[in-house]
């Protein structure tokens, strides 16, 4: 790895510091907005803990930014199927996220069986499988089976959507 990419990687971690700072700021702002009636039964009030949490986040944000600028880096998590020798593969992640988003938008109108099928099929495709027919069949089986499994086993009625009369 060249020193150039090392520097870039170090810098992208500043985003985490920014996130911590933003969350901390929001927590503090939200806490200050609360009304704190004087009360014998609750001397601590609703504000104290959020202020502690927000303060912790803000301190962490500053320290992390300093740490990153001084060359510190978080260790990316390893795992059995994780190969850290190549950078994040956005060609896999973005389609995965798209499948996930599509499910969020479609689940209430199309129903779980259709949107779940699309979710599974899309995810499998994003992850690199190209056996369209087999993948499609497995997707349909999975979503139909979970639909009835939840209905009969747990009494949870997933939305049937378009297939309302059929299922």
């Amino acid at each position: 790895m060249s020193s150039q990419t090392l520097k870039l990687k170090g810098r992208s971690e500043l985003g985490i510091a920014a996130l911590l700072g933003a969350v901390g700021g929001v927590v503090v702002w939200d806490a200050l907005r609360l009304s704190v009636p004087y009360s014998h039964s609750d001397p601590v009030g609703p504000r104290t803990v959020p202020l502690i949490v927000g303060g912790l986040l803000l301190v962490c944000a500053v320290l992390l930014a300093i740490n990153v600028l001084r060359g510190g880096r978080g260790e990316a998590e390893e795992g059995e199927d994780v190969d850290l020798s190549h950078p994040s593969d956005w060609k896999t992640v973005v389609p995965l996220l798209a499948a996930f988003l599509a499910n969020i938008l479609l689940i209430d109108t199309l129903g779980w069986v259709i949107s779940g099928t699309l979710l599974f099929w899309g995810s499998v495709w994003a992850l690199g499988s190209r056996k369209y027919i087999r993948d499609g069949l497995i997707s349909i089986v999975m979503s139909v089976a979970t639909f009835y499994g939840f209905y009969l086993g747990l009494g949870i009625h997933l939305p049937a959507g378009l297939l309302a009369g059929v299922l």
Binding site: P46, G72, D81, V82
Partner: protein, 573 residues
Amino acid sequence: MDALNLLMQGFATAATPMNLLFAFIGVLLGTAVGVLPGIGPAMAVALLLPLTYGLEPTSAFIMFAGIYYGGMYGGSTTSILLNTPGESATVITAIEGHKMAKAGRAAQALATAAIGSFVAGTIGTALLVAFAPMVVQFAVSLGPPSYLAIMVLGLIAVTAVLGSSKLRGFSSLGLGMAIGLVGLDPVTGQQRMVFGLPLLADGLDIVVVAVAIFAVGEALWIAAHLRRKPMETIPVGAPWMGKQDWKRSWKPWLRGTALGFPFGALPAGGAEIPTFLSYVTEKRLSKHKEEFGHGAIEGVAGPEAANNASAAGTLTPMLALGLPTNATAAVMLAAFVQYGIQPGPLLFQNEPQLVWALIASLFIGNTLLLLINLPLAPMWAKLLQIPRPYLYAGILFFATLGAYAVNLQAFDLAILLVLGLLGFAMRRYGLPVLPLIIGLILAPRAEGQLRKSLQLSAGDISGLWSEPIAIFVYGIVALILAWPLFAFAWRRFRPAPVAGGPGAPLAGGQAAAIVGPAAATEGSTAAAGQLPSPADTKDAPRQPADGGDSRGDSSGDSTDQNRVQAPPPKARL
């Protein structure tokens, strides 16, 4: 004995056909998720949390317990046959276990791991039976200030002791606590962190958060770095052990158990430290020192036993105090909350049937695990061949399903996605996940105790340390927080011969970091002297690229480096 009577009643509950079935499903699922890459017991229990809507609590917890113990068995199978341990607790097993497998002794390695796990799990569960009621008896006399102190200890210990960067640990803790704030303030009823969204007013569902962080975040992270080459697994027949193997294994099993249980029961014990200490102990005591690093059976037997005993130990504070110390225990605690069951010392009084059935099912599950793991190990190993697209698409699929089933709202799926992306970023930038989950679960309860404490003292802040136990526990918290300073002073005034320079092989270095606090608290400085030498750990699975740089944080920079480089000087003699 009272506890024995209750345990017998627990066996009666756990041995009904229905509950036996759930125990069996649990151990099967547990072994499967332990073997499968990319999915562990915490994620499995999180994905199954939606079941809590349709199942009896007793059955659900019996199944969760089976998954918890089963994950340990399955994890050792992977690390022996594959040398890429998925969980940190099995890193040590992989060192010797994979060498054994390469040398054609996979069957013996799997056997000593499975039987050792059984022995340790059974003894550990027996210790749980013995100790949990004592802890409860002690704990019911405590008031809110002491509970607050114990919860603060739980939060700080998990964050500051485990993991390589304290700063990143505390960042993660803060995020978890912030997520826990969302919803109505329990005392005044005001909305906190709700931003006018009515859907947030009831707070974020723990199921959704746990599934997002454990399942969605993990699946996305692996998808971004998916290993495209097929992995080489070592083919294996049914596990068995010869007479010599038994002779060399039984003592490490017992010693591993003795190390694992107490560490598991400590607020930040976990399984990493005892497995490592067990490895070091076995290496020192072994008559076959030369075999270490080339597949010594003691190096598998001891750490595996320590791993399982620590799992039993973890359940002691979880059941007796409501204090989770690892991810799976945290998610199981979330399940208690889902059922409206109040975790804490009163659990044994309020839900004796559930608790004792759960404990009895641990004995049953452990036996089932031995039965399904010994003869069927080759079959389990086949699970490793599952096509990865199906595995990770399946995780996303079930994560979506579980989160959606909570309220049948697409809004929850949006939260799932946002927090899943957070989980992804945390894995990318080395923020540990555990403090977030512990913070999410413990912080609201700690806030409740804080407000009760000061209510009792009528607002006088000294009410926080009005009980001796609280003072004692805050003392421990102060020690943990001040530890970097001590280590710094130690390094400053007793300069140690540098083990291998800043670029020392990190497997050894990491081990030193792990053993650091333990060696200090136990005075067992000699342990550090027995670190696997660079040559031993050349093939050790985890080798972060560089030392102080990657693990330094500005507050603990020097300390961390100290722990990486320098075992206490005495040990070098």
